[in-house]
């Protein structure tokens, strides 16, 4: 028993490197056009720079500006299908040794995880920014309270904060540039500080659910590439 003829032909297309090459080429062309659209519409570019999740930008933005991203996502979806099929077929055929077989598949899994990360983030990311005076409390949408205990400017600007629930301190931390505090899936970031007319901190509360997927995918992608470099340096 095998595939019916037309299904087999479809499978051959889905596993082909030729399809990957075409999809990669088209993706490059679309992103190139997208970069021109973005450069000509700086306000759009600004909104895309992490201010709002991708899914919201895509669904609420004018199609005249978002078409290229829709196309890019469609092509990436096809590329993901092609990647899964190609890897499945390679493992099924088991040509060559174990390591030469594994290296590209590890890279492919890493790539797919990074795509999943972008998908998860585009659907579930959130960002909230606000100014909090020293000694003030802010209620967050998650129900937690954020208390700004102390701000310090100078060589090492920082803000001491507490996260509370019904008056109980759940976490204490010091926010500084590049040093956020993480709690229950949320990241608390220090954006800016000011002392006049009163000491206050600009704090961003961010949720990026795709981040662990992206990191794990990136580690796998790198591990696979290192393996491939080692194997090819012997071969070539």
């Amino acid at each position: 028993m095998g595939f019916p003829k037309n299904k087999k032909a479809l499978w051959e297309i889905l596993i082909s490197q030729g399809l990957a090459v075409w999809l990669l080429g088209l993706e490059i062309a679309i992103l190139l056009l997208g970069s021109v659209v973005m450069a000509k519409n700086v306000s759009v570019s600004g909104a895309m720079s992490g201010w709002i999740p991708l899914s919201i930008w895509l669904t609420r933005g004018p199609f005249a500006l978002t078409w290229w991203m829709w196309t890019a996502i469609f092509l990436l979806a096809l590329l993901a299908i092609n990647t899964v099929c190609c890897s499945t077929e390679s493992v099924r055929r088991k040509k060559g040794g174990l390591l030469p077989l594994l290296a590209p598949q590890i890279i492919h899994i890493g790539f797919l995880l990074i795509l999943i990360a972008h998908l998860v983030s585009s659907l579930g990311a959130s960002k909230l920014t606000g100014q909090l005076p020293e000694g003030a409390l802010a209620r967050l949408p998650s129900g937690l309270d954020l208390f700004l205990d102390k701000v310090e400017t100078g060589a090492r600007p920082n803000a001491e904060v507490e996260l509370l629930s019904r008056g109980n301190v759940l976490k204490r931390g010091v926010l500084a540039p590049n040093h956020p505090v993480f709690f229950r899936g949320y990241g608390f970031y220090l954006q800016d500080l000011k002392m006049d007319p009163f000491p206050a901190a600009f704090i961003e509360v961010s949720r990026e659910p795709g981040a662990p997927w992206a990191l794990f995918g990136a580690i796998l992608f790198t591990a696979g590439t290192i393996l491939l470099v080692l194997l090819k340096s012997k071969q070539e």
């Binding site: 970069s35 961003e204 790198t222």
Partner: protein
């Protein structure tokens, strides 16, 4: 000794390198010493703006070329092409004003340093790949095309690591590992382009001349991502 003199010293050394390879490495050492002196003077890694980054790129090009040693006639072409590229980058770097100020707090992290350093190392390897590909087109020695592939694959690895370091930095600085600015888009284009090259080379009929051309064109994408985007498109990156 004025550190600026060290940077200028590299130029005649690179030009002398057109004749003798050892002068190329002397130029590379002069630029490395300049960047080290500048780093000590500024108290930070000197990799901000075209002045620093072009010098870093020129020195990296020559430094990495040591791993792609070629003797005889093709070695001469390799040496001359690299020397000319390094000299050109040095001249443009010296015309650009060095950034002397302190780093904004958000750039004071090892992730940023790693991100920029690895990016330029990968650009250098892509540049070496382009040079090897162009020489291959003239001389048709299979070893050259294989060396081009090795250079590009190594560059691809470092470029991927640079993107990871950039993602970690962005996540710690802004709460997101990816920003949809023109620079990031072009970074994706560059990464996809070399992914395309690596897949193309596996296709029947693409090994050899076509792969060499594709590998050489990649460096045009590198230069646009590095310099063109900053000049022509607004972005949070200003390297």
């Amino acid at each position: 000794m004025n550190p600026g003199l060290l940077a200028w010293t590299a130029l005649p050394l690179y030009l002398a390198g057109l004749l003798k390879r050892r002068f190329l490495f002397a130029g590379c050492l002069a630029q490395a010493a300049y960047l080290l002196a500048r780093g000590i003077m500024l108290g930070r890694i000197p990799l901000i703006g075209p002045h620093d980054t072009l010098i870093f790129l020129a020195a990296s090009l020559v430094g990495f070329s040591a791993f792609f040693h070629a003797s005889s006639e093709r070695g001469k072409m390799f040496r001359v092409s690299l020397g000319a590229m390094a000299a050109l980058f040095t001249v443009v770097a010296m015309l650009a004003r060095p950034f002397e100020g302190p780093l904004p707090p958000v750039l004071r992290t090892y992730w940023f340093e790693l991100h920029v350093g690895l990016s330029f190392f990968s650009y250098a390897l892509f540049g070496i790949g382009a040079v090897l590909g162009i020489i291959y087109l003239g001389q048709r020695e299979a070893a050259l095309e294989k060396s081009q592939y090795r250079a590009i694959l190594s560059g691809y690895l470092l470029f991927s690591l640079a993107m990871i370091a950039g993602g970690v930095w962005a996540y710690l600085a802004w709460g997101t590992y990816w920003l949809w600015t023109p620079k990031e888009l072009w970074t994706s284009i560059l990464w996809l382009y070399y992914s395309l090259y690596l897949h193309l080379r596996l296709r029947p009929g693409w090994y050899g001349k076509k792969a060499a051309i594709a590998g050489a064109i990649g460096f045009v994408v590198v230069l646009f991502t590095y310099l063109g985007v900053g000049l022509l498109m607004k972005s949070s990156h200003t390297f």
